[in-house]
Amino acid sequence: MDLTALARRREVVLLVLIALLLAAVGARAPVFLTPASLGDVLTDTAILLMLACGQMAVILTRGIDLSVASNMAFTGMCTALLSKYHPELPIAVTLALAPLIGFCLGAVNGALIAWVKIPPIVVTLGTLSAYRGMIFILSGGASVVTHEFSRPYLDFPRQSLFGVSALLWIALVVCAGMAVFLNFSRTGRSLYAVGGNPLAARYVGIGIERCQFLVYCLSGAIAGLCGYLWVSRYAIAFTEVAFGYELTVIAACVIGGVSVAGGIGSVSGCLLGGLFLGIIGNALPVIQVSPFWQMAISGFVILCAVIVNSRSEARKGKLILRETEPPVPAPLQVRPETPS
């Protein structure tokens, strides 16, 4: 790939932007660039990265999942209550149950979207409210706090293996799994087809409904897992956990170059988009920008990123005039052998 083509790849542009951002923050506060600090940033962003991967699969099929944050909070509350009332249960149960609960919530979205054929934004807008309300009903509005959790519940994500926390390992596995799924499985590839051109996808026999259902389940399962991780990380479960976080997740995807029109997006782009937001969120307090600026700056950055993206996307026309060779291919021979 030549240099200009390389420069046109969104991932490369983002990588450069992130490097610049790090350099700028590092210049103001060198402490931010220490490995320990960068590790913290990564740990802090891990949940966002996983959620962004799940969200990307959904957006690939021209969908959107606005209910991730509510799903996360609900699942988080379920696991928290479980930990509170059954502290004896091994952590493996929580680890299995969290994605399962999330999966079920996602499956409700998926079924309504794929088979009842309600637009994704409507369904997930509805479940965004409904799941959030269910937390309140489930918990009676009470929160579960630090000392009420069982030790393993809180400690597991912080355990480290080869110097990397379990939380990061989980994120790594989820994101790598997603990348393999999207690039190397037929189903993963069909997601691109479903989003790129649903009609054409139907014509080649791809079960659109199946794909839609699948992505919401997947996004739901990831949200569920993240629900446990989130609650465990901050050691508190209450109704408002991760309130409004769905938009951050979507923003990460958008910055990472996932097209909301469907069919375009990569796990690497998504991860970079998430990191970008994560670094900003973590850097502002460090470089002592007034916290009041944080929201405005993220908004500004999102706008800049999408405008830059749209510029590099802009179609350069068909360039009819530039073609110099007349399109006269050699005459075709009639060859009788069977097509393979």
Binding site: I64, L112, S129, G244, I302, V306
Partner: protein, 328 residues
């Protein structure tokens, strides 16, 4: 001309099922049920003054739902409306601190909304970026600016007469806000359903490319609609600020989703090109009356959101399922 001619009727014969499956009819039935259930469950519900007062709870959102309807009909969406309210309210507050009078305050509120909406529209049409993406960005940006300006302070120094817009009643104890909503609903309904402008809006929503090839300045329409939507948010900011008499950066938090819920429940397709103002109008009351009834029973807002979410999905799913069954 050659040709064998076909007999082509002017319009389709309407079937009874068509009427009963019309969205507005379904919503009216739903509204009836809501009113009935509420009046059964709460002795305070069917009270003239209570009902009128309850309109304070949704009038501002309903006004924004009107222009949001147009935006969604043209296949766009605006997630930044609530943030525009915050921004407009902040600028009004600053002006009030500087001693501006009531007319100037209103003007500033409307102008801020207008400009913010224009900024949305300009970015969307100039760079051809999907509206949902741009307005996610401006949603943070606008509210972020409000935080930057206000920080940890609140502005409460509004002139005395300013409270009129959000707190006054007209004849028969009807709140001014509500009357304004009714008037605007009539205007929007007329424009969307009985004018050529409305026709063009539907054309854009159904097929923006073909609309452009038909001589409709699509991007200009979208720009104008986003600006209008901003203006309506500015108006809502005037009403809300006047009603609560104070400005904080977190004002109207989360309203964007409530407004969109009203529109979608009103039968406006999120894919653009279809939906009516009358549907949205009824949906406003369905939601308003339902939440009012629930609040009379002191059901917490967060539990209401379960009702709203389920209602939203069910109201759309049920007709689809019925149609599917009828087709069998």
């Amino acid at each position: 001309m050659t040709s064998l001619r076909y007999e082509v009727a002017d319009r389709r014969k309407a079937a009874a099922a068509d009427f009963w499956l019309r969205w507005e009819v379904l919503l009216l039935v739903l509204l009836g049920i809501v009113m009935l259930v509420n009046s059964r469950l709460s002795p305070w519900f069917l009270d003239y003054y209570n009902l009128l007062d309850s309109t304070f709870n949704f009038s501002e959102k309903a006004i924004m739902a009107l222009s949001m309807t147009l935006i969604i009909v043209t296949r766009d969406i605006d997630l930044s409306v609530a943030s525009i309210i915050a921004l407009a309210s902040v600028f009004m507050g600053l002006a009030a601190q500087a001693g501006a009078g009531v007319p100037l305050l209103v003007l500033i509120g409307l102008a801020t909304g207008l400009l913010a909406g224009f900024a949305n529209g300009a970015i969307i049409t100039r760079f051809q970026i999907p509206a949902i993406v741009v307005t996610i960005g401006t949603m943070s940006l606008f509210r972020g600016i409000a935080y930057v300006v206000l920080g940890d302070t609140a502005i409460t120094s509004y002139p005395a007469g300013f409270s009129w817009f959000g707190q006054s009643y007209l004849v028969w104890s009807i709140p001014f806000e509500f009357v304004l909503f009714l008037v605007l609903a009539a205007v929007f309904g007329f424009v969307l359903h009985f004018t050529t402008t409305g026709r063009r809006i539907y054309a854009i929503g159904n097929n923006p490319v073909a609309a452009r090839f038909s001589g409709i300045p699509v991007d200009r329409y979208r720009l104008v609609l986003f600006t209008l939507n901003g203006l309506m948010a500015g108006l809502a900011a005037v009403l809300l600020t006047s009603r609560i008499g104070s400005t904080r950066p977190n004002i109207a938090a989360g309203w964007e989703l409530e407004v969109i819920t009203m529109v979608v429940l009103g039968g406006v397709s999120i894919m653009g090109g279809s939906g009516t103002i009358s549907g949205v109008f009824i949906a406003v009351f369905v939601l308003g009356m339902m939440t009012f009834g629930l609040s009379l029973m002191n059901v917490p807002g967060i539990v209401m959101s379960v009702f709203v979410g389920v209602l939203l999905i069910a109201s759309i799913a049920v007709p689809i399922l019925i149609r599917r069954m009828l087709r069998r």
